[in-house]
Symmetry: C2
Subunit: 403 residues, 2 copies
Amino acid sequence: MARIVQKYGGTSVGEVDRIKRVANRVKACYDAGNQVVVVVSARSGVTNELIARAKAINPQPVEREMDMLLSVGEQETIALTAMALHTLGIPAVSRTGAQARNLPDPAHTRARIVDISGGDIDEQLEGGSVVIVAGFQGMNQNGHITTLGRGGSDLSAIAIAEAIKADLCQIYTDVDGIYTADPRVVPIASKINEIAYEELLEMASSGTKVMQSRAVEFAQKYKVPFEVRSSFNNNPGTLVKEEVASMEDVLVSGVSVDKNQSKITVTNLPDRPGTAATLFQAIAADGVIVDMIVQNIGRGGKANMTFTVPRDDVYRAEKAVKDAFSSTDEIEFIASDIAKISVVGIGMKSHSGVAARFFDALATSGISIHLFRTSEIKFCVGIDLVKAEDAVRAAHDAFELGS
Amino acid sequence: MARIVQKYGGTSVGEVDRIKRVANRVKACYDAGNQVVVVVSARSGVTNELIARAKAINPQPVEREMDMLLSVGEQETIALTAMALHTLGIPAVSRTGAQARNLPDPAHTRARIVDISGGDIDEQLEGGSVVIVAGFQGMNQNGHITTLGRGGSDLSAIAIAEAIKADLCQIYTDVDGIYTADPRVVPIASKINEIAYEELLEMASSGTKVMQSRAVEFAQKYKVPFEVRSSFNNNPGTLVKEEVASMEDVLVSGVSVDKNQSKITVTNLPDRPGTAATLFQAIAADGVIVDMIVQNIGRGGKANMTFTVPRDDVYRAEKAVKDAFSSTDEIEFIASDIAKISVVGIGMKSHSGVAARFFDALATSGISIHLFRTSEIKFCVGIDLVKAEDAVRAAHDAFELGS
């Protein structure tokens, strides 16, 4: 007998028939002798409907009332899911975020979990009930309903798994697990059986959006193993857990792509100490995150700086840069769209040669590298946006990730 | 400056535009210098939608989960109403039933309010905010969400008015107030300006369904005055309050009709002591409420008993009666549809002649009376169902209730 938390997202509970299917899946787990906690999101579409109604009344609703409004979505799902289990003869009770004692900080619409006890979940499980918990929501210490932001149900599930000392947390989604690359780009991409938290975090920050990073970070911090798997079939998914020695045998676990990056080149910068600091402090002060950086000394005592930012932040970055230097500097600001291709793997910690193999693969495919960055377990390059998919395929082949 | 509770039902908040209209009405009250608490129901239609979804999953959902499900209706409305007030520049905060410390008993789907403090409503009002409270729902001492049954939002409004010592509670609905008779039957029926709790309760039990009796009983118990008025115009409504001397000047306040009654005659009953007790104990044991009763001695030492019950209970009553007597008694059970016409008025306490005038009016209209019953402030008769509207008009004329 194990204690298992299962989380189902909005598409998995989007309609009455899907809720019934979730109930059947929960029943199978329960009938196998397990204690089961189910964390559910709002039915897909409900959140958007509620937002539309709110915007029709007030284009800029205050966040506290948005939380009050949006939290009804999961409350509906938990009740319906409990009813579906009752139809199958399974004892089940629903719990709102507040009732599960999910205690976030006071921030609205993007609260962080401060503490979570699970309320009476333990008692209910011991009494033989399945417990259905509303994801995404909690109640802060002032008694206000708050929500945890996008992906908040994943975070709820992992936090509850930690609170009740679950043996496993299963994140049900509409994909079979985490892949070595996006299967739409690389048809032979294969599902990864096991991956370390750190690798998944690096892949997420490189464009692989299976789960939001906050949930993975929480799991990493509290060492909560979880499995990402599909609610539409019975295939085993990807187990995400602490790094184990055998993971180092795999040089690269996956290839990610982020097509929403821009490369910015600032030319004519005065070549004197402090220029780089002025530049990047100005950008950071505006909340723009700079990723890859390369510096060149230009002619006539001038320097050029090239770096990447998320595409949506280009204009803010431009304004920050222009405000930071006097007009007499005559600096130039040139932006262009790029893609960031990342190879990620725990194995890089102990193996050399990743960069060489990666560069060689791109060169063989005729892809130029504008800039790159390494971290302990990740190697990223910035390339022309139009070459993004070719680059993913080339890297995937080079590291022999195909199934 | 007064402290006012305004309650808006489902039709008043049924659409985005109506919520905006409610907000404008609240603003007018707030701008006039009042402290305002708004109690709202779920948008009309939402409750039925939720019930349909539940039934599609489980034809007999458990009540606890129905409460969990249905309580999302008002939670949506309070958030949207708060947003609509913000659009108008009015500070407003929403509160669920639980947050307003509406503490019902443990019964689900029909809980009674045990205690209500209002939570921080007082503090919010003193701070200049309008407070929007979810009607119909509360949280019991075990931490479960419960709902108060049909008409529960009226009860919430009156209970909150009592808790925060409001000067007035306004129940906004889709009619202008309480009328001397149903205006669809009696076109010259007039709106009653003031009525005693007791009169309204008697009218409600006689078929005038403006508010559920539980809310009126609560108001009577705690002496909370309230006004029933329309949310679609600015006409003054009907003030419901404790009996005052001047009310006795009016002999009859209104005429009600209940078309859902059946007359039952049981014949061949043994004419011996205890027969009536056996009969009515059997019916009462099945939860059927008997209203008017008349007994006749028949021939050959047999008695007949005629009484009325709600039409839906006829079959239960029949079964109870047949089970209570042995088959050798050969009793007969005959049921027919009737209407109950009631005249209600505090004035009856101190004036005589009501029965005579009522009987005369019906006789003049050619309406036979099958049976009747009197109480301190009400006189009811049972007549043929098809004559119901004629009887209402005749009584309305006889007591000069027209405007």
